[in-house]
């Protein structure tokens, strides 16, 4: 009987404990594209962190291509539309992204970086 009570007690404690493996809220990073910059142009992530990129344009069509990944987005022109992508990175490092749809004379200046850090090093 004592053993049964101990088991039930442990089970009750487990139920009362905060859900240690609760699903983390996925972060949404909103990026605005406008000739000839991304805002923000620097995004900080942790290794393994999954985020949703939501990208809009304030003028013409742009592209957003993240180097070293398969992410290559076509950003619709100014309006209610956006383009979304879920990204995560297995390795720490600097992942540059750039507009890859010609948008005007300053097109090649339109770049940014995702800085991925190991969890201990995250800010």
């Amino acid at each position: 009987m004592q053993t049964l009570l101990r088991v039930l007690g442990c089970f009750a404690l487990l139920l009362m404990m905060p859900h240690a493996t609760a699903v983390q809220e996925r972060r949404i990073v909103r990026i605005s594209a406008e000739r000839f910059s991304f805002t923000p142009s620097r995004i900080d992530l942790r290794v393994g962190e999954e985020v949703d990129l939501v990208v809009t344009s304030d003028d013409t069509s742009h592209g957003l291509r993240i180097e070293g990944t398969e992410v290559d987005l076509a950003i619709p022109k100014r309006g209610p539309g956006d383009v979304r992508a879920r990204v995560s990175f297995d390795k720490a490092g600097h992942y540059e992204f750039a507009c890859d749809r010609m948008c005007g004379a300053g097109h090649n200046f339109m770049r940014g970086v995702i800085i991925v850090r190991a969890p201990a090093a995250s800010r």
Partner: protein, 372 residues
């Protein structure tokens, strides 16, 4: 080997590897894009004109994601005929970009000179008004392009830079009315006995705000014997864009040394003194508001701009300023966007001067411009 040197070498090696990465298909648009502008100008008391002002094709090609070509070929005023004044064909851009790192990239070829707002942002849907601002025409030559080499990048905290070494201006082409505008050599067998330097720094670290400053400096009297005219251009600008509101302002100042001897030497050559100033100055402020912001085809911006520009701001000793060229203008108008890349523009321009003889002029302009 010191750690910093190792890091620099490793970065350069990594950049070299990335330069060799083949291009991949993706969201890339057409390799051909461009913009066009059709204008109706009615400036009293002249007859109105209809002018296909600009037909510009932009070509781009990625050899790899980090080695890119951009070219821009422009036809102005529709028709170009030999030995007749009228239109012109210009190769405004034709460069290779070597995108090495975020903070350091190289560019070589025919490039836009990064001075002022409009030189690098001149597509019709990007600015208000049928014609480009006067300051970006008479004080800062727009479109200002020249052959050379340069570097650009973002050095962190929202700071971006560009530096160029190009051919200088030709002071023999300066004038009282148009300032330094006609002095561009345009990379056409350009004289590079002297080399001009251009720099621009932009700060984008505050949301919705872009602040920029540029300089241009070069010895420009290579074609005028016995004269030593150095030209210095300084410029500052800011743009604020939040929601429906956009504000922009620009200030530009030009100094020309040895302008007195330049005028005398040019008068000896041509018989007429060009009355080139030793300093020119211009500034403008513009406020625009998106008064109809209901999506595609329901998109209307109203704006007002005030400009002051004087190509005779300071004269060398012995020369009198022509007040006709101390000008100021009010421009009010609207831009309707049936689609974000198509701009239907209308504006009214009141242009006055300080001469006391020449009357102010009034103009009404309509424009249709598009980017694709």
């Amino acid at each position: 080997m010191p750690p910093r040197t190792t890091l620099v070498l490793a970065t350069a090696f990594q950049a070299a590897l990335l330069l060799g990465t083949p291009a991949t298909a993706g969201a890339q648009g057409s390799p051909l894009s461009g913009y066009m502008e059709l204008h109706y100008n009615r400036v009293e008391p002249q007859d109105p004109i209809l002018d296909f002002h600009r037909f510009v094709l932009v070509m781009s090609h990625g050899f790899t994601p980090r080695i890119r070509f951009v070219g821009e070929l422009e036809v102005e005023h529709a028709v170009v005929e030999g030995l007749e004044e009228g239109g012109e064909v210009a190769l405004e851009q034709a460069y290779l970009d070597f995108l090495l790192t975020r903070s350091f990239n190289l560019r070589a070829g025919m490039m836009l000179v990064p001075v002022g707002i409009i030189n690098e942002r001149h597509e019709p849907p990007v600015f208000n008004g049928v014609e480009r601002p006067f300051v970006d025409t008479f004080i800062i030559p727009t479109t200002w392009f020249e052959a050379g080499v340069g570097a650009h990048g973002e050095i962190g905290n929202g700071l971006r830079y560009r530096v160029l070494a190009t051919a200088p201006l030709d002071a023999a082409e300066f004038s009282a009315a148009e300032g330094i505008r006609e002095g561009q050599q345009h990379g056409a067998e350009a004289n590079v006995r002297n080399v001009a330097a251009t720099g621009r720094l932009e700060y984008l670290g505050i949301a919705h705000l872009t602040i920029g400053g540029s300089f241009w400096t070069g010895d420009s009297s290579f074609s005028v014997r016995g004269v030593d005219s150095a030209v210095r251009v300084g410029e500052a600008d800011a743009r604020y864009h939040r929601g429906p509101l956009e504000l922009r302002g620009e200030f530009a100042h030009v100094n020309i040394s040895d302008a007195d001897r330049l005028n005398v030497a040019l008068q000896r050559q041509t018989g007429v003194s060009p009355n080139v100033a030793s300093a020119m100055r211009g500034f403008y402020g513009e406020a625009a508001y998106r008064i109809w912001n209901a999506g595609a085809a329901r998109d209307l911006v109203a704006f007002v701009r005030h400009e002051n520009f004087d190509t005779q701001y300071r004269m060398p000793d012995g020369f009198v300023p022509l007040k006709l060229y101390d000008r100021h203008a009010w421009i009010v108008g609207a831009t309707y966007f049936p689609e974000p890349d198509i701009a239907v523009k209308v504006d009214y321009v009141r242009l006055a001067n300080e001469s006391g003889i020449a009357k102010p002029s009034h103009g009404f302009n309509v424009g249709l411009g598009w980017w694709f």
